[in-house]
Subunit: 226 residues, 2 copies
Amino acid sequence: MKTGTPRAKRRFKDDVYAALARVPAAIANPHRLELLELLGQRPRTVADVAGEAGLSIANASQHLQVLAKCGLVEVERHGTFAFYRTTSVTVYRLLQSLHEVANQHDRAIAEVFAKHLGDRDRGIEDWEKARALMRDPRVALLDARPAEEYAAGHLPKAINAPLEGLRSGKVSLPRSKRYIVYCRGPFCTFADDAVAILRERGFDATRLDLGPLEWQAAGRQLSNVG
Amino acid sequence: MKTGTPRAKRRFKDDVYAALARVPAAIANPHRLELLELLGQRPRTVADVAGEAGLSIANASQHLQVLAKCGLVEVERHGTFAFYRTTSVTVYRLLQSLHEVANQHDRAIAEVFAKHLGDRDRGIEDWEKARALMRDPRVALLDARPAEEYAAGHLPKAINAPLEGLRSGKVSLPRSKRYIVYCRGPFCTFADDAVAILRERGFDATRLDLGPLEWQAAGRQLSNVG
DNA sequence: TTCATATTCAAGAGATTTATTGAACAAAGG
DNA sequence: CCTTTGTTCAATAAATCTCTTGAATATGAA
């Protein structure tokens, strides 16, 4: 009965799928998902991400070990500090796909996004368009992430304009330019906030719905200068 | 202590990550992963996939409902039959990313693949190269999947050469041509088997490490003719 | 109507995952 | 040496997931 799948092949498949399933199992937890996105930006210590994600240190450490066990993150130890970071850009691609699927098919998450992002303007969504705009010398590129993340690598020619700097007025920008603002990526809200602040003050600002990881995924290098 | 993340933002993030995590939770099970890959090919009934994956029907039904609940698969009912299929190509991209990450970082799965695929020749891995070869009229494209899957959609100009057909000799091919063989995708082994059979019989055959879903992901249409 | 088929539902035992707790360890400074 | 700091380990109760079982539903055929 049925086309007899050879038993040996069954077993092989079982192994493959069991091994494969370990990765989604590792990211099937809200906290680990958050940690993974935090670590995608730059190496961070356990206490650091624990604080940002609202977890106890022991708990964060355990979650990080789960992520490390299937190769999603790796550790580098300096003294008593353990700096965790994602292992490669393929991890980011996985998260990206996850966002895509969730947004497309999960009504709940689409609602969550819709509710909190409101009817925000969609920004620029592809590199070609962004690069075309950037050729105009009257257009400047702003990086709305915190200074540390900017320092760890940013888009070429981007100027760091972290939110606190914008709010406090520490970052002062010429009013003659037009600004394109990016942050971590399409699902990060730093650039939205930055655009709102800038517009409030009469600047011409537009969001770029792409970030450094998309830039790398497109096969390009980040800059560390400036 | 710490840069005070506003409480409202915390809550919002919790919602987002909780919603996001439902998708990996759904695919964090070997059986569901297998079902998802089976359904990626064409719509199939519960009993059908249950048989192929070695599950009881009730169990398969439950797993399928988990997948459906977060929008990874959808049902279409015809009489008493329930045909399940993946909802969109974004689901395939997610699985693709998963394979990439797992192969790259999970030693266990890399070993599983290495062990079972042996040191198989890497096939053709990009469409440009494949298309360049296909321009030669002495080269023919073979689809090594079962006839049903071929009928549901295949690459333009591909000839169906299912494994049973090749083994039994029902599919006879001119020896004057050179063959490029594909199947479901880079992680499917049908094409490997087909290439092995063909070479054993003196044909010039090469594997194409891409399939119909990669073809669609590249923005192209499948053919139903032939 | 009755029967057979394809699927879904509901409940429960057994296994796994999660957050918490407090202890243990290891590096650096005094 | 002792103390502090950052991290990891180990144990546990609570929650969740998994598979099986047997019943329930719903369609189509006789």
